[in-house]
């Protein structure tokens, strides 16, 4: 790295970040070439970063160095095994690739089974909840201690059970849902799921806003603050953003008032 680059690295990163942010947000006006350029740049950088880090943090210390410097020559077999995947492109020898794929499918299936048990079993166990209030029960030789359940907790548990059963009944497809009880609970289950989807949608809006706020914070406080000082910088950046917004609104107004082109053909 040249001395100039090393000395100005932070400034270059700030400028690059600010320009990329503005370039990517230009899509809010409409699809354009500047947006496309920065989009490809971002994707390219992220992919390059991934490849470089996979080498420096994983392959180099765990595979290459032990093989090259510590005499663990058998590490080369990992490469051979990986290369076997490429036999999928050979009509004659594709069976070799299928062997490797089969091996990894088997490993994956076994792990998925173990993972499912670890993931879902505690959740199944915690659905067994008391729906009647009771006092605490002390530990005896035969039973562990049981916590007290208040009436509000019992009602809460009952609501939980009703929601669980209604939603599960919606996914009960073994026979046609003709019975009024099953039909009603399935319908209620659908409504309850709608509440859940509503919560997810609301959270999605909050998440997207958080990302916008982060970029604006970065432009005004990180970029503006470090370039022009933490008092003046954010104010200047605010007016820059307002000026850019003004340009966008002018372009929108111009587009709307442009006379429609007459097709002479």
């Amino acid at each position: 790295m040249s001395a100039w680059l090393a000395a100005n690295k932070d400034v270059i990163v700030l400028w690059f970040g600010a320009l990329c942010t503005l370039g990517l947000y230009s899509v809010l006006y409409k699809e354009n070439k500047i947006y496309r350029l920065f989009e490809h740049l971002f994707l390219g950088l992220a992919t390059g970063f991934l490849i470089a880090n996979t080498w420096t943090d994983v392959l180099l210390p765990k595979w290459w160095e032990p093989m090259w410097n510590e005499g663990k020559w058998w590490n080369i077999f990992a490469l051979s095994l990986g290369l076997c995947f490429y036999f999928i492109y050979s009509k004659k020898n594709s069976w070799i690739a299928r062997l490797v794929i089969g091996f990894f499918l088997g490993v994956g299936a076994g792990q998925t089974f173990q993972g499912f048990v670890g993931d879902a079993w505690p959740q199944i166990a915690t659905t067994f909840r008391p729906v009647i209030a009771h006092d605490a029960i002390a530990k005896t030789a035969d039973h562990p201690a049981i916590k007290a359940v208040s009436w509000p907790d019992a009602v809460n548990n009952l609501i939980f059970l009703v929601v669980l059963l209604c939603v599960m009944s919606y996914f009960f497809f073994s026979f046609e849902q003709k019975h009024p009880v099953l039909k009603g609970s399935a319908k209620l289950g659908r409504w309850l799921m709608m509440f859940s989807f509503g919560a997810i949608f609301g959270s999605t809006i909050m998440a997207r806003l958080a990302l916008l706020i982060d970029r604006m914070d970065s432009l005004m406080n990180d970029f503006g603050g470090r370039m022009l000082g933490f008092t003046l910088g954010p104010i200047v950046m605010f007016f820059v953003l307002m000026a850019l917004s003004g340009v966008v609104l002018f372009l929108v107004w111009r587009d709307k008032n442009r006379p429609a082109e007459v097709d002479e053909t």
């Binding site: 809010l28 670890g118 959270s203 909050m206 998440a207 958080a210 990302l211 914070d217 406080n221 929108v252």
Partner: protein, 288 residues
Amino acid sequence: MNILRLLQQVDRRVLYVMLLLAVTLPFFVKFRVPVAVSPPTQALYDAIDSLPENSFVLFGPNYSAGTRGENGAQSEALLRHLMIMWHKKKVRFGMLAFDPQGKTLAQTIALGLQEEYNKQGYNIKEGESWVNFGYRVDQQNFVRALVKDVPGTLLVDVHDRSVATLPVMQGVHTAKDVAMILDVNPTAAYTIYIQFMQGPFKIPMGLAPTAVMAPEAFNYLDSGQIVGMLQGLQGAVEYEQLLNTFGRATRASNSLGVAHLLLISFIIMGNIAMLLERSKQRKAGGAE
């Protein structure tokens, strides 16, 4: 133009500019809007605060620049608490990322906080108080190996130092020596920790998902598989309030509140305009 129709046909870019104003103007207001701390945030705070003396926490910054707005603020809030816990109880932490950008983003935050807290005499040192193990691939198989042999699986940290010889790793050999897992994750990959580390070894686990992923994670909270959770940026704001600090999340919280109010008012105005317009059309139709 009729005002009711105008309200329904506002160009989306006009709304964007209004949203931009709603987001940027609150940056100039330096005050903290008090927030109610939700039970999952409080539970996570309590779990970290009650960690035993000299324990070790595995911290997972498993996010990239795409979700930095939420996960970055969450990481900052959690790392603040861990550094305070180093000062109070010599609690150490190691950062392990399964996203290549996560290791760099978390390193920047940790170094910044280390500088900030060392000015207050916390004496935090990389390698002694905390360590960044860097990026690793294949989370599922890696975690399965990690639980049996922590230093042997990690081998080196981001500075290429042998993990086994670092003071921060003293007494950390298997998953049983990890007092807590904290995963900052915008995807459902946090379940890998639950399946192969938290569950089998009964390690308390805290989660910081994006707001989009938070509703799904409530199952794990209800079942006790995770002890507490930060729900998106709002979770980080609540956490900073508990820590009594003014960090990145609190700085963003005013903007978040104003932007929410603006969006709600857009929805209400749009719907009122639509309903009035419909009733007007119905009346006009009836008159004919």
